[in-house]
C-alpha cells in the first residue's frame, strides 16, 4: 500500500503524456478530414503538408487540433476512446445479454485464456518433470540443461507457423493445440530453472538428518525436497503464466487465427480499425494482471498454510 500514491502518480503522468501525444499524432488525418469537409487549411493539400512538421501544422491550424481527439480511425486514439471501445465490447455486451457473441472481447479473451491455461499446464508439467530428471540423473542434467538454455534463445515466433502446419497435417483440428504448444514452450523454462534450484535447496545437514531417519529416496523427495522447492515454484509460476499468455498471443498473431485476442489485433490491422487493436491490447494486459494476481494469491495462501514465513 506504501507504493499506491507513487504508482498512481506515475500512472496519471503516463496517461497525461499519452493524451498530449494524441494532438501531434492525429493532426495530419484531422486536417485531411477537415479539408475534405470544406475548411481552409494552411498549407493546402495533404501532399504539401507532408513537408511541414506537425508542430507548425498545429500552430497554423490551431482551431482544428481538437478534431484530432475525435477521429473515427485515429493513428493514436485517446485514452477515453480506448476506454469507451473496451466498455462497448465487454460491459455493454453483457448488459445486452450478448456476452458470447463473436464481437465481444470477453469471448475472445476466453479463447485466449483457454489456450494459455492449457499451455501453462503443459509447460509447468514439463518443467517439473525436467527438473526432477535433472536433479536425479546426472546424464540428463549434463545433456538436457545446455539445450534448455539454447531453446530459449531461439525466437519461437519463427517456429509458430511451422507448428501450425505440422499440427494441421497430423490431423489436429483448430488452433487450440498449436497455440498451447507455443505457450508451453515459452513457459516451461522459468519453471524448470527454478525447480532445479528449489529441489536442490535443502541443506546437506537436512538431507543427512533424513538419512539418519533411514528415509528412502522417494520419502526424502516427497517430505523434504518437494516442499522446500515450493517458494521457488510459485515465483516461477508467476513468470510462467505471463510467458504463457505472451506465447498464446504470439501463436495467434502470425497464423491467421480468427478468434482470440491476438486474432483481434490481426483483424484490426487488416481492416484498419485501430480502436479494435488498442482495446484487444488492453484486454490482454488486464488478463495478464488477473492471471499473475491469481497465482500470487495462491502462493500466499499455500505458503501460509504450509507454515512458511511470508
Amino acid at each position: 500500500m506504501r507504493n499506491a500514491i507513487p504508482v498512481l502518480t506515475v500512472l496519471v503522468v503516463l496517461v497525461g503524456l499519452w493524451w498530449a501525444a494524441v494532438a501531434p499524432m492525429n493532426i495530419r488525418p484531422a486536417l485531411d478530414l477537415a479539408e475534405r469537409g470544406g475548411a481552409v487549411i494552411v498549407p493546402e493539400g495533404s501532399v504539401q503538408r507532408r513537408e511541414v512538421s506537425v508542430w507548425t501544422l498545429m500552430l497554423k491550424n490551431s482551431s482544428h487540433v481538437s478534431a484530432g481527439y475525435d477521429l473515427k480511425r485515429p493513428r493514436l486514439p485517446t485514452p477515453a476512446q480506448v476506454g469507451q471501445e473496451i466498455w462497448k465490447t465487454t460491459g455493454a455486451m453483457v448488459l445486452k445479454g450478448r456476452t458470447w457473441s463473436k464481437r465481444s472481447l470477453i469471448y475472445h479473451s476466453w479463447i485466449t485464456l483457454q489456450s494459455t491455461l492449457w499451455g501453462f499446464l503443459l509447460g509447468t508439467s514439463l518443467g517439473i518433470l525436467g527438473a526432477v530428471a535433472i536433479t536425479y540423473s546426472r546424464v540428463t542434467s549434463m545433456s538436457l540443461m545446455p539445450w534448455a538454455i539454447i531453446s530459449q534463445t531461439i525466437p519461437i515466433v519463427a517456429l509458430a507457423p511451422m507448428i501450425i502446419v505440422v499440427a494441421n497435417q497430423v490431423g489436429v483440428e483448430g488452433r487450440g493445440v498449436p497455440k498451447a504448444i507455443i505457450s508451453a514452450y515459452l513457459c516451461y523454462f522459468p519453471v524448470l530453472v527454478s525447480m532445479v534450484k528449489g529441489l536442490n535447496s535443502p541443506k546437506p545437514a537436512e538431507l543427512d538428518l533424513l538419512k539418519t531417519y533411514n528415509a528412502s529416496g522417494t520419502q526424502s523427495f516427497w517430505k523434504l525436497r518437494l516442499p522446500a522447492s515450493l517458494p521457488y515454484f510459485f515465483t516461477s509460476l508467476k513468470v510462467g503464466v505471463a510467458a504463457a499468455l505472451v506465447g498464446t498471443i504470439v501463436g495467434e498473431l502470425p497464423t491467421g487465427a480468427i478468434s482470440g485476442l491476438g486474432a483481434r489485433i490481426l483483424i484490426g490491422d487488416q481492416f484498419g480499425t485501430p480502436l479494435a487493436i488498442w482495446s484487444a491490447l488492453f484486454l490482454a494486459a488486464i488478463l495478464a494482471g488477473l492471471l499473475v494476481t491469481f497465482v500470487d494469491t495462491m502462493q500466499r495462501v499455500t505458503l501460509r498454510k504450509m507454515g512458511f514465513r511470508a
Binding site: V139, W147, T153, L159, I249
Partner: protein, 281 residues
C-alpha cells in the same frame, strides 16, 4: 524400416555412451561436458531424420534435417540478405536504442525514491505483458522498412532492462555507500565507481532477456508488412508457397543468430562482472 531401427539404435547407443561418460571420472573435464550435450543434440537430429525417412513423412510437412541443411547451403545469399534486414537493421539497432534509453531512464529515476517506487511496479507489470501486440500499430506509424521493426524492438526490450537496472542500482548496502562517503566521493563518483559496477549483474540479466525479445519483435513485426526481404517475411511467404525447407533453414538461422547474440552478451558479462562471487568459484 531400416532408417527407423537405425535411428533408434543410434539413440540407445548414444544414451549408453553418455551415461557412462557422465558417471565416469572424466565427467568434470571440459571436453566431456561439451561432448555430452553435443551428442544429445546430434541424437535428436538423427531421430528426426530416421522418423521422417522411416515413416515416409512428406517433405512438405516436415523436411528431414539433411534436406534442410542442403537448402541452407544452397541459399546462403537469400539467408544473408534476410539476416542483414532483420537482425542487423531491425533487431540490433532497436536493441541498442532500447537498452541505452532504458539505462538512461533508470539512472535518472534512480535519483528520486518517489519515482522509483512508482515506476518499478508498473515496469515489472509491463515487462510481463504481450508487448508484441503493438507490432501492427508501430508498422502503421513507421512504415514497412526496418524503422518500424526497430521501434517494436525498442519498446519490447525497454522494460526488462529498465526494471533490472533500477533493481541493480539499489544493490549496494549502506556500509558500502558510507565507505564512499568517508572517501569524500560525490554522487557521480559513487555512481561510477560503486553503484554501476554493482548493478552490472542485474543489467546483464536484463540484457540477456532482451536478446531473445529483440529477435522475436523484429520477426513478428515483419509479419505485418515488410520489404520483400527479412526473416519474418521469408517465413510467412514460405509457409504460404510451401517452401517449407527454406522456412526451416530460416528457423535454423534464427536459432543460430539468437544463440550467438545471447552468447555474445554472456561473454561480455563474463568480462565485465569477473569480480562477482558466482564467477570466481
Amino acid at each position: 524400416m531400416t532408417w527407423l531401427i537405425g535411428a533408434l539404435f543410434f539413440w540407445l547407443a548414444a544414451w549408453a555412451l553418455n551415461t557412462r561418460l557422465a558417471n565416469s571420472r572424466l565427467s568434470t573435464t571440459l571436453a566431456v561436458r561439451t561432448f555430452i550435450p553435443v551428442l544429445f543434440g546430434l541424437t535428436l537430429l538423427v531421430l528426426w531424420e530416421g522418423l521422417v525417412r522411416g515413416l515416409g513423412v512428406s517433405q512438405v510437412i516436415l523436411p528431414a534435417p539433411s534436406l534442410i541443411a542442403k537448402t541452407f547451403v544452397g541459399s546462403t545469399d537469400i539467408l544473408w540478405v534476410d539476416v542483414v534486414q532483420t537482425v542487423f537493421k531491425g533487431a540490433l539497432r532497436g536493441f541498442a536504442i532500447g537498452a541505452l534509453a532504458a539505462f538512461a531512464v533508470a539512472i535518472l529515476i534512480d535519483r528520486s525514491a518517489f519515482l522509483t517506487r512508482g515506476l518499478l511496479p508498473i515496469g515489472n507489470f509491463v515487462a510481463a505483458l504481450p508487448i508484441v501486440g503493438i507490432a501492427p500499430i508501430l508498422v502503421n506509424w513507421f512504415g514497412f522498412d526496418w524503422q518500424s521493426k526497430a521501434a517494436v524492438v525498442v519498446v519490447m526490450v525497454f522494460f526488462p532492462i529498465l526494471v533490472n537496472t533500477v533493481q541493480g542500482l539499489r544493490e549496494t548496502d549502506a556500509m558500502q555507500r558510507d565507505l564512499m562517503r568517508t572517501y569524500a566521493a560525490g554522487y557521480f563518483q559513487t555512481l561510477l565507481k560503486l553503484r554501476l559496477p554493482a548493478a552490472m549483474p542485474f543489467v546483464f540479466n536484463g540484457l540477456k532477456i532482451a536478446t531473445t525479445l529483440a529477435l522475436i519483435g523484429a520477426i513478428v513485426a515483419e509479419y505485418f508488412g515488410s520489404p520483400t526481404r527479412g526473416m519474418g517475411f521469408r517465413i510467412s511467404t514460405g509457409v504460404g508457397s510451401l517452401d517449407i525447407d527454406l522456412v526451416w533453414a530460416e528457423i535454423a538461422v534464427s536459432a543460430l543468430v539468437g544463440s550467438a547474440f545471447y552468447g555474445l552478451v554472456a561473454l561480455l558479462e563474463l568480462r565485465v562482472t569477473f569480480w562477482h562471487p558466482s564467477r570466481r568459484s
